[in-house]
């Protein structure tokens, strides 16, 4: 039986291949959509894991989360340095670190922060040591700079027409372990170096209400950075403004209390995970839409295949009639017709699954290369239900031409 089916399929190998490819492409579409959406969701959730609570100046919650977690360049309003000082001394806070962005080097964001944040992201460095002077830097795992290399910061980025700061050249002293987050692409430097570089030495603070692009035109004030000065990670009321503060509360209860406390006229506190959950809602809607389109496509493909299959049965009336005339029982004929189409479906579904997986892996790899956020492509239990659903649908759809073959009278089939 199976030999006959295979011989028959070989005979129509061109058409069979076309049918398999058609099915594979439509299945690949839904597999890729499902896997990719999950990859983005899991990947960004993991990227946000280390960012418990973010405090910034009032503005967009989403922008605060995206800028801090994914280092998406965007002008953020500055938060008073006093807030950092207050948080650093708060007994409910395990760690509070400033996040000062705005500069970059060859597309890699340069983030001003403290050694505490480096320790949070990468408890042990893969190479070298954490910065201990203002002119030193720690590179993320994906930054193509070796320990000892020099980094010239550029204000803004090449795309936004930034200018190179000439006042300081950072020297890379260490490299973080891979974190699977956007921070793998970042270069971390002491926050005080960033402040000095932008002329924000505490007393100049009032001049720089905003850290946006517009007030950093060519004439903007450049301070002097003493590259050999030691670190000072104590903050007080004189501390200059910063775009965001990462806070690690001691307990979950503390986290909620802190968030409540810092949602005020002058500060904004967000759980990045919460912001992302809201974004996933939108992402989920987009996935539902894409999946609906994919399933609609499958419907069209199934209809097209049924049309081809029934026409094919029509052109094979004589063969089917002959099989029955020669004594093949009806069930054998039905099994052959059903089996041939079902086999093509199963081959198409398997190929489509592999193709969808490959596409998702490719897209994830490209997105990881661009953002450093690892997007894990993985199957979930639900996927097997979906696959089983596909196979059952294929088994049922394959019955249609089999039933049309059933209705053929052998004598009439032979005569035609």
């Amino acid at each position: 039986m199976i030999r006959f089916i295979l011989a028959d399929l070989r005979r129509f190998s061109g058409g069979a291949l076309a049918v398999v490819i058609l099915i594979a492409l439509s299945v690949a579409l839904s597999v890729a959509v499902t896997l990719q959406e999950r990859a983005v969701r899991l990947g960004s959730a993991r990227a946000a894991e280390k960012f418990d609570l973010l405090v910034g100046a009032p503005g967009s919650e989403t922008q605060l989360a995206l800028s801090s977690v994914f280092l998406q360049p965007a002008p953020l309003p500055l938060l008073s340095g006093q807030v950092l000082a207050r948080l650093a001394d708060d007994s409910r806070v395990a760690m509070a670190a400033p996040i000062g962005f705005g500069d970059s080097s060859f597309g890699h964001p340069i983030v001003g922060t403290t050694t505490a944040l480096v320790a949070t992201l990468s408890p042990t460095l893969t190479e070298g040591a954490v910065f201990s002077h203002l002119g030193e830097a720690v590179a993320g795992a994906d930054v193509p700079l070796s320990v000892g290399a020099e980094v010239k910061p550029m204000h803004g980025s090449v795309e936004t027409g930034g200018e190179t700061h000439t006042e300081v050249t950072y020297r890379v002293t260490g490299r973080m372990a891979p974190t699977g987050t956007a921070w793998d692409r970042a270069i971390l430097v002491p926050i005080r170096a960033v402040w000095s570089l932008h002329g924000m030495g505490g007393e100049h603070e009032e001049d720089h209400e905003h850290h946006g692009e517009e007030d950093h035109a060519e004439e903007h004030e450049h301070g002097h950075v003493d590259a050999d000065a030691p670190l000072d990670e104590h903050f007080n009321a004189e501390t200059p403004g910063i775009p965001a503060i990462l806070v690690k509360p001691k307990t979950i209860a503390d986290a909620y209390r802190l968030r409540q406390e810092y949602r005020s006229e002058t500060t904004l506190a967000v759980f990045p995970a919460e912001v992302l959950t809201r974004l996933y809602g939108t992402l989920g809607d987009a996935r539902s839409l894409l999946l609906a389109i994919a399933i609609g496509t499958q419907g069209i493909v199934i209809a097209a295949i049924l049309l081809v299959a029934i026409m094919h049965i029509g052109s094979r009336r004589r063969q089917i009639g002959a099989l029955r005339a020669l004594g093949a029982p009806l069930r054998a004929v039905v099994t052959i017709v059903w089996g041939e189409l079902f086999l093509l479906f199963v081959a198409g579904i398997a190929l489509g699954g592999a193709l969808g997986l490959a596409v998702a892996e490719l897209v994830s790899a490209r997105m990881t290369a661009a953002t450093a956020v690892r997007l894990p492509v993985e199957f979930a239990r639900d996927d097997w239900r979906l696959a089983a659903g596909f196979v059952i649908a294929a088994a049922l759809v394959s019955l249609v031409p089999a039933i049309s073959a059933l209705r053929l009278s052998p004598a009439a089939a032979l005569r035609s």
């Binding site: 039986m1 030999r3 028959d8 029955r324 020669l326 004594g327 093949a328 004929v333 009278s409 004598a411």
Partner: protein, 228 residues
């Protein structure tokens, strides 16, 4: 070996006033060799379809060795045909992609498991029909060889009767003669009744009895002429 008895057979097609086949009484003894001739449209194909159970019969009785197949359901007729009737058709109806051997055993394999004895018999039959390489793909054989494979296939289940519908019509003269000779010889050796529909005089000459159909009626019967 089966005898054939037809009584009161009448086959009509919807929309046609006169029956396409009408046989009041016909008897063919077991082991006889019969040629059915007649112009196209004379009812030959309808006769083949009726006696092989391919088509349902409205009126009359067709008895093979005493079993009335007109009382059978469609699947019973299929089963009876598979068990007792070896069919040889004008267009061979062999299946490309399979070897000669696989074609011979295909109807059995589609119905059940092929036994070792049946596989041996298939090889023996291919040898008897002069197919040298049973594993050769069917589409690479000559037309004469193809029809000989079809004859071997018809004989596999040791049928009591062989029905051949224009077995030589699509063959050249020498291939046709080989197939004709083979049918007559093997039906005798295998002890099967042979009914051949043909307009090939060389083939009908080889058979013991000839009937001629016209307008669905037997207008000439060499058996009756002898009996008369």
């Amino acid at each position: 070996m089966l005898s054939l008895d037809i009584t009161g057979l009448e086959m009509r097609f919807p929309g046609l006033a006169s029956p396409v086949l009408s046989i009041d009484r016909f008897h063919l003894p077991a082991g006889a060799r019969l040629a059915v001739t007649g112009a196209s449209g004379s009812g030959k194909s309808t006769l083949v379809n009726a006696i092989t159970g391919l088509e349902r019969v409205g009126h009359g009785a067709i008895l093979w060795g005493g079993q009335n197949i007109t009382r059978f359901s469609g699947s019973q007729r299929d089963a009876f045909r598979a068990r007792h009737i070896g069919l040889v058709m004008q267009d061979f109806h062999l299946f490309p992609g399979l070897s000669a051997f696989e074609n011979v055993v295909l109807p059995v394999r589609l119905a059940r498991r092929l036994s070792a004895a049946e596989a041996d018999r298939a090889r023996l039959l291919l040898d008897m029909t002069g197919i040298a390489r049973p594993q050769q793909k069917i589409e690479t054989l000559s037309r004469g060889e193809m029809q000989r494979v079809a004859v071997a296939r018809a004989l596999l289940s040791k049928p009591g009767v062989i029905v051949a519908d224009e077995p030589t019509a699509s063959l050249d003269r020498s291939a046709g003669e080989e197939v004709a000779e083979l049918l007559v010889r093997l039906s005798r050796e295998e002890g099967a009744t042979l009914i051949v529909v043909t307009h090939d005089p060389a083939l009908s000459e080889r058979l013991d009895r000839r009937i001629r159909l016209a307008g669905g009626i037997i207008i000439e019967d060499s058996g009756e002429a002898q009996a008369a």
